[in-house]
């Protein structure tokens, strides 16, 4: 086993750091918070120019032929720099599941579109407050040449920016879910921004007799559960990347502060209590990153990864929040102010802990895998 990065991976990471550091003022979480789309389209265009959405997609559909790990590295840097971006949603939650489950014409149309900068999002499975991949609040009723969608979904990321949504719906006449690709210009589809704690823009999407042609079914009618599972696994693993990068960012920021901030005539980092907090943060960041990396590595090699994804997300959901709490303790009052960036991470930690299943959900998955 070798955990050092490849040459390519180091280039990807370095290029991402350069761009995101440079655009922090115009495209970081603070800059885009109150904009209609919740991200910077200018930065998205730059990312597309650099090939970010295309990186992990297959070459025959306009991609660059990289793997999930390449996307993971980009997500890690987006988290570290607190840059809201539809990259994770578009690629991990829609394009890659489409590449795995979609038919050739869907792949030909949408993967090349994503490579050129079109944005996708997804309407998650699971009714109401649950995270499992069973059930849906959206119904698909056969109608004419396709389906009529009805229902309301919450927490659809970047819905306003998206050109199409991967929707998990249930059908009355068939067990299981059905995954459909729904154009966001479809009449009967409404999008309303939610006021949420996190930095990712989240939407309520209403479907009122929205007509979707049968050609837009991903895989087969009734086989959407597999698509939902792919979305959940890739989404959770990419979110762990964001969390690991962000937790590292919080640690770096806190250590810098502890070295320079003086109290009682000494840098506070020389006090044992502060050192202990920083050491605990470092241990939490390291374990979060290692488990997240292991899950992503398995996913990018098409190995079974459900347990590793749950280990990673259970760990990240608790540790990132704890890292933020310790960072606040070291920063004191300045970290509680709106002008300081720490609160952006704390918001992000709260929201990402809930994305794709919280620690309890994934801990329960681990218990099941252990045979409990």
């Amino acid at each position: 086993m070798d955990l050092t990065a490849t040459e390519d991976q180091r280039h990807i990471r370095a290029a991402a750091t350069d761009l995101l550091t440079d655009r922090r003022a115009t495209a970081g979480a603070r800059a885009v918070r109150d904009t209609p789309l919740g991200h910077s389209p200018t930065l998205w265009d730059e990312m597309t120019e650099l090939g970010w959405p295309a990186l992990a997609l297959p070459e025959e559909h306009g991609g660059l032929g990289g793997d999930f790990m390449d996307l993971w590295l980009l997500c890690e840097e987006l988290g570290r720099h607190q840059t809201p971006s539809p990259l994770l949603t578009t690629v991990a939650c829609a394009a890659l599941p489409l590449a795995r489950h979609g038919n050739p014409s869907q792949c030909a149309q949408w993967l090349s579109a994503v490579a050129k900068g079109r944005i996708l999002s997804y309407v998650r499975a699971a009714p109401h407050g649950h995270w499992g991949a069973a059930g849906s609040d959206i119904t698909a009723t056969p109608s004419g040449e396709g389906f009529r969608l009805d229902g309301t979904a919450l927490f659809v990321p970047y819905a306003q920016a998206a050109d199409a949504l991967v929707v998990m719906a249930r059908t009355d006449y068939r067990e299981g879910l059905t995954a459909l690709l729904v154009d966001t210009t479809t009449p009967g589809l409404g999008r309303h921004r939610l006021d949420v704690v996190g930095t990712t823009p989240e939407y309520r999407v209403d479907f009122t007799a929205a007509a979707v042609p049968a050609s837009q079914v991903i895989g087969k009618v009734g086989d959407g559960g597999a698509v939902a599972e792919t979305v959940a696994n890739l989404g959770a693993a990419a979110t762990c990347a964001e969390m690991a990068g962000a937790a590292q960012g919080v640690l770096d920021m806190t250590v810098d502060y502890a070295k320079t901030r003086t109290q009682f005539g000494r840098p506070i980092g020389s006090f044992q209590a502060v050192q202990q907090h920083c050491a605990d943060m470092a241990v939490r960041v390291l374990t979060t990153r290692l488990l997240a990396y292991e899950a992503a590595w398995r996913l990018s090699h098409d190995l079974p990864a459900a347990l590793e994804v749950s280990l990673a997300k259970a760990c990240a959901s608790e540790q990132y929040q704890e890292v933020c709490a310790l960072a606040h303790q070291v920063h004191g009052a300045i970290g509680f102010t709106a002008e300081h960036d720490l609160h952006l991470f704390t918001r992000h930690a709260t929201a990402t802990a809930l994305a794709f299943g919280d620690a309890d959900h994934h801990t329960s998955q681990v218990a099941t895998a252990l045979g409990l």
């Binding site: 086993m1 070798d2 955990l3 050092t4 990065a5 490849t6 040459e7 991976q9 790990m69 640690l251 250590v255 502890a258 070295k259 000494r266 840098p267 980092g269 020389s270 006090f271 044992q272 502060v274 050192q275 202990q276 920083c278 050491a279 605990d280 470092a282 241990v283 390291l286 374990t287 290692l290 488990l291 990396y293 292991e294 590595w297 398995r298 090699h301 190995l303 280990l311 259970a314 760990c315 309890d360 801990t363 329960s364 681990v366 218990a367 252990l370 045979g371 409990l372």
Partner: protein
């Protein structure tokens, strides 16, 4: 540069199979521990072995088992697998050594000569003279010479540099070649009562700054003036001892590294020690046994009613174990890539110690009131967790308190200023 990957190579997988087959064929049946025997172990040992004690055991079967196991390992160079073959090792790469140790723990068989092989072996390779390597490494690698590490003193535990055992240089004379006269006391020395040799830190320059007046010496435990007394712990076991040095003559040739440079030699030695793989694998084995027991018909009767809490608690321990395992693999990978042992060892030590205590509490809790049964016979899982509960009390103290590990992480790992 090679790619980052988590799966091992086909050759490493083959080596893993070779180790498994070796253990299956070579581990002496008479050396399997009696599951009902009271243990008398270092807190991190949970399988009921104490190899240094077992090789001097009054029970002939146990003694024969310990010696036969050492001989079987020595034949392959696997007691000190990282040492060159010329010194009785197998010249294994760090990754192979990691696999070997991992498989031995999975097979629930004991490490032989751990302190000598894992601490002193690499230390002599890095800092020892050619004569010292030739004199001591073969004995370590064949399991003949058992070593104990004398660092802590009554007033210098976590503050190791406060040590006061003194060594005064004495010219060659009728008593022998040039030597140090050592006087003072060591304490909490693991397995010292079974050791043939000791490696100790002594103060050679009382006027120098604390870290700069310390020297690293090898001392024959049978030298005149050395007395060793076992100390009983809260479990009634005697895993450690105190050592008194009363004017002990130690030839200058037994010094490792330069005079007054012993602190740096010792820190490197501790770096070798703490990067262990053993703990997470042992814990995982124990956790899996617990799960198996809870799933059995008898386990279902014993288990607490509020199983949702328990199942989450067990799953959390599993997440923590996998995290600790990942850190151990990272450390081994870093070692393989030529990195000098750094603060990662402290991360492993810290994670392992706290997890040990949490796991013991989780396991004991699973059996409700039965968790108070100390006697192994009638207790679920032979009271493994009730015993572990007390074995683990010292986990956050031994080898440096967890506060000290955090301090190492903060200052050496994160670069925070020293207090």
């Amino acid at each position: 540069m090679t790619g980052a990957h988590w799966e091992e190579t086909a050759q490493d997988a083959e080596f893993r199979r070779e180790v498994r087959a070796f253990v299956r064929e070579s581990f002496p049946a008479c050396y399997r521990p009696d599951p009902e025997a009271e243990n008398s172990l270092e807190p991190e040992d949970v399988w009921g072995y104490d190899w240094p004690a077992d090789r001097c055991s009054p029970d002939p079967e146990r003694r024969a088992g310990a010696l036969a196991w050492a001989a079987a390992l020595a034949e392959r160079g696997w007691i000190a697998p990282h040492l060159p073959a010329a010194y009785g090792g197998a010249g294994l790469s760090p990754m192979r050594e990691f696999i070997l140790r991992e498989e031995m723990v999975r097979a629930e068989v004991p490490t032989v000569n751990g302190i000598g092989a894992m601490l002193l072996g690499p230390t002599l390779m890095e800092f020892g003279t050619q004569e010292q390597r030739r004199a001591h490494l073969p004995g370590i690698a064949c399991g003949r010479t058992v070593w104990a590490q004398g660092f802590s003193e009554p007033d210098a535990g976590s503050d190791l540099a406060a040590l006061r055992t003194t060594a005064v240089r004495e010219p060659a004379g009728p008593a022998g070649p040039e030597a140090y006269r050592v006087t003072g006391q060591k304490v909490w020395t693991s397995s010292a009562q079974y050791a043939d040799w000791l490696f100790v830190l002594v103060r050679t320059d009382p006027d120098a700054p604390r870290h700069k007046g310390i020297t690293f010496l090898l001392i024959d435990a049978t030298s005149d003036g050395v007395s060793i007394r076992p100390i009983e712990d809260m479990r009634g076991a005697t895993p450690f001892a105190e050592i008194h040095f009363d004017d002990v003559r130690v030839p200058v040739a037994h010094r490792v590294g330069a005079e007054n440079q012993g602190w740096y030699v010792a820190m490197a030695a501790l770096g070798f020690e703490r990067a262990g793989i053993g703990a997470p694998v042992k814990f995982e084995q124990l956790l899996k046994r617990l799960v198996g027991r809870l799933r059995s018909a008898e386990g279902q009767e014993l288990v607490r009613a509020d199983t949702t809490v328990l199942r989450h608690e067990i799953a959390r321990r599993y997440v923590e174990m996998r995290a600790q395992y990942a850190v151990a693999r990272l450390t081994a990978a870093g070692h393989a890539a030529g990195a000098v042992p750094g603060y990662e060892a402290s991360v492993s030590q810290l994670l392992g110690a706290e997890l040990h205590q949490r796991l013991a509490r989780t396991g004991a809790r699973a059996f409700g009131p039965y968790a108070q049964l100390w006697q192994r016979g009638p207790a679920p899982m032979a009271a493994a967790f009730a015993h572990m509960r007390f074995d683990a009390v010292a986990a956050t103290l031994l080898g440096g308190t967890t506060e000290i590990q955090r301090r190492v992480i903060a200052t050496r790992g994160l670069g925070l200023p020293r207090s």
